[in-house]
């Protein structure tokens, strides 16, 4: 019989594709096994860890400097940093069984990913090595904990305060920032200037304020963990929305849109707060650095978020978001990953990193550290970080959907497309079924 080389070729192609498929599965299994058996034998040669982080440019350079410091001191565990700001890549890498050994992410993703099993719980390591979690600022740490497990450690946090233009306030006869919410309303009315038949020229404060921040001023909460109920209809949340809605309706959507269309870009000298178009603004700890860069002559002050007259015990309220480091599920050397992660979140490294970025540290022991002496505005923000009335959005597996739906309805309420109660009920109806 005649040989059929082409048939063998076909068989070969099939064999290769089948074999490569199998090989892929095997490595995946191997990874999963080492996950369970804590891979103690890995220290034979030098271990190389891949570290994916979301920062780019000068911020990435600051992190690389810290990585270089680790590599110089730890020849047995070599860390290779990779700037990878697309967090979806982490998802595909983890599900594909070939994850980075350590990675960064936003605090709001931690519990959604962690509870689905994409992140390794760190509690055993924390207990074994005696990491003092009480040093962490409660609001920051809570972003990486769910159902009694710690899935990540926060490296940096953000919160907001009230910025005010001293010159504009003085012209209107105010010699200091508003302390209470009723004062805030009065300030906004007096500081908003209309000309030429009611066209807005200057606004006291943009009314679409961050509802999460003001909810804490009214003692509100978005989730009742004991009752397993989402609570967008909570009295405090409602008060925050009513506050925003009250200011919004004072001007109306059409006039506000027209006014907003003439405003400059946020990251430029034309930022409406820098040009005096906003007398006040609520913004984060990064703003003083921008002001130094874009509007060095701006005469401004930083003040606490005004408190509710009926809740004087809830002074210095605020909302906290974080950036975190975590160990993905399925890493080859969890022990080595943890060693690096632990070192990275120690006060010395955290101070160096956050000071370079101009982010707030998440450890209370760093709040009076001299390393922040030259970061503009940090005196006020570091003090504010100690406030017991700072909270973060409740960390749950459905937090992303919850925030999205809440923001959608919040905007619809402001624009009068739906009533407050009706809008908040919609949020509850949509999110409550996701609670498990």
């Amino acid at each position: 019989m005649q040989r059929k080389p082409w048939l063998w070729g076909l068989v070969l192609v099939l064999m290769i594709s089948v074999a490569s498929g199998c090989a892929g599965k095997e490595t995946q299994n191997a990874n999963n096994q080492s996950d369970g058996s804590k891979g103690g034998e890995s220290t034979k040669g030098a271990v190389e860890l891949s570290f994916w982080y979301g920062w780019t440019g000068p911020e990435a350079a600051a992190l690389e400097k810290i990585i270089a410091k680790w590599n110089a001191a730890n020849p047995d565990i070599k860390v290779k940093g990779l700037s990878q700001s697309d967090y979806q890549k982490q998802l595909t890498a983890i599900t594909g069984g070939n994850p980075p050994d350590i990675a960064s992410n936003f605090g709001q993703d931690v519990v959604p990913w962690g509870e689905r099993g994409a992140m390794m719980p760190l509690d055993d390591y924390i207990k074994k090595d005696g990491v003092d979690l009480s040093d962490y600022i409660t609001a920051a740490l809570s972003t990486s904990q769910g159902n009694g497990k710690t899935y990540a450690l926060p490296i940096a946090m953000h919160t907001t305060m009230l910025f005010y233009n001293k010159d504009v306030l003085a012209k209107a006869g105010f010699d200091g920032p508003p302390q209470t919410i009723s004062q805030l309303k009065e300030y906004i009315t007096k500081l908003s200037v209309k000309q030429d038949g009611g066209r807005l020229q200057q606004l006291g404060l943009w009314p679409g304020v961050d509802a999460f921040t003001f909810t804490n001023a009214f003692g509100g909460s978005y989730y009742d963990a004991d009752a397993k109920q989402v609570t967008p209809d909570n009295a405090g949340v409602k008060s925050a929305i009513q506050l925003a809605k009250g200011i919004w309706d004072q001007f109306g959507s059409e006039e506000l849109d027209r006014f907003a269309s003439g405003l400059g870009q946020y990251m430029s000298a034309q930022n409406p707060f820098f040009t005096g178009k906003y007398a006040m603004t609520i913004d984060g700890e990064w703003l003083p650095t921008f002001i130094k860069q874009f509007a060095p002559n701006l005469n401004y002050g930083i003040a606490p978020i005004p408190y509710d007259d009926n809740n004087p015990n809830l002074k210095n309220p605020g909302n906290v978001t974080t950036s975190v480091f975590y160990i993905p599920k399925g890493v080859k050397n969890p022990d080595a990953s943890w060693k690096f992660l632990k070192w990275l979140t120690e006060p010395e490294q955290m101070g160096e990193f956050t000071a370079a970025l101009g982010n707030l540290p998440t450890r209370a022991s760093l709040l009076d550290d001299p390393i922040y002496a030259n970061v503009p505005g940090f005196k006020e923000f570091l003090t504010y970080s100690q406030s017991p009335n700072l909270h973060s959005f409740p960390a749950t597996a459905f937090a992303n959907e919850y925030m999205t739906e809440f923001t959608d309805q919040y905007n619809a309420i402001l624009r009068g497309k739906i009533g407050i109660d009706e809008g908040l009920k919609k949020v509850k109806d949509k999110i409550q079924p996701l609670v498990k």
Partner: protein, 316 residues
């Protein structure tokens, strides 16, 4: 496949010779890289997404069967309807406008003037630029304060909208961006234009038809198959529009919401992306993908059916 092929052959004579079989297998062998790729990367994902659309699946845990729950949920999802509306706007406003603009450009580029090749190159150039780069470029063009477009509008005393920041103008901004890339469509029209036999025009001229008549009675019918092709491709593209919105309306914001001011750029694919990769609802997102598939399929079929009335093929 081989059955129908051999049946056809057997009508003429019985079976294949050994030589023909040999060529059949050889052909399959040479086509095998594509066939394997098609099976692994297209057919398998296609059917597995159908399966996933009937489950809840978060990537990390095994999928759980929920039947038609995802589809039922979609029917009551406000974001779904919002994204459909935004997408339909792009499909039915943007596609016809850019089709017309491509045709006009092609007609102009068909004139025999000096240096026409340079004009053709210039008009085609934007099509070579990647979507991301052109989207970033346009954020500057459309900047309310410093953008070239508003500078021009102010200079001639026209109102200067906030373009990408004003929910009423975000989609028209995208239409404008699309027009800039009309050169790609124009190139196809141009090729077709040059294929229209000159004698038609000469004959019409002899009969006394003016330029307008010649355009409507000869050019448009002769181009109709190409118009159909571009219309279908344009509609499919419009239903999948994603990059521009993702670049212009920002990726991940603190509030977790994407889709631009007042969700005016929340397109179908953007919503699907958010459900899949931000909310980790792969099952729900797969169901969304299947609904999109059905919509696009239906529109394409309707277009192809009605096309018999207005598309003329040379031979008929």
């Amino acid at each position: 496949m081989s059955d129908s092929a051999s049946m056809k052959l057997s009508a003429k004579r019985k079976g294949w010779t050994r030589r023909e079989w040999r060529y059949f297998w050889l052909g399959l062998l040479f086509a095998s890289p594509w066939i394997i790729g098609f099976l692994v990367f297209t057919v398998y994902p296609f059917f597995s997404s159908l399966y996933f659309s009937l489950t809840t699946y978060d990537l990390f845990n095994p999928p759980q069967w929920v039947g038609l729950d995802n589809y039922k949920q979609i029917m009551t999802d406000e974001r779904f309807y919002k994204s459909i509306n935004n997408t339909l706007f792009m499909a039915f406003i943007s596609v016809p406008i850019s089709l017309a603009s491509s045709l006009i450009i092609a007609l102009m580029l068909n004139f025999k003037v000096k240096g026409i090749n340079y004009y053709r190159t210039i008009f085609y150039l934007p099509a070579v630029i990647p979507v991301v780069a052109s989207a970033l470029l346009w954020t500057w063009m459309l900047n309310p304060d410093f953008g070239l477009i508003n500078m021009f509008l102010r200079a001639v005393g026209l109102p200067d909208p906030a373009w990408l920041m004003d929910p009423r103008y975000t989609k028209p901004s995208l239409v404008l961006m699309g027009l800039w890339g009309s050169g790609a469509g124009a190139l196809i029209f141009l090729a077709a234009l040059q294929g229209v036999p000159q004698q038609y025009y000469e004959a019409a001229q002899v009969d006394g038809a003016n330029g307008w008549h010649r355009f409507w009675r000869i050019t448009i019918p002769a181009l109709s198959p190409i118009i159909l092709f571009q219309l279908i491709m344009g509609l499919i593209g419009a239903f999948q529009i994603f990059t521009e919105s993702y670049i212009l309306a920002g990726g991940k914001s603190v509030s977790g919401s994407i889709g631009g001011p007042d969700q005016s750029l929340l397109f179908y694919a953007v919503n699907l992306y958010q459900e899949a990769f931000m909310n980790l609802k792969m099952g729900y997102a797969s169901a969304l993908a299947w609904i999109l598939f059905i919509i696009v399929m239906a529109i394409t079929l309707v277009l192809l059916k009605t096309s018999r009335r207005w598309v003329y093929y040379g031979g008929e």
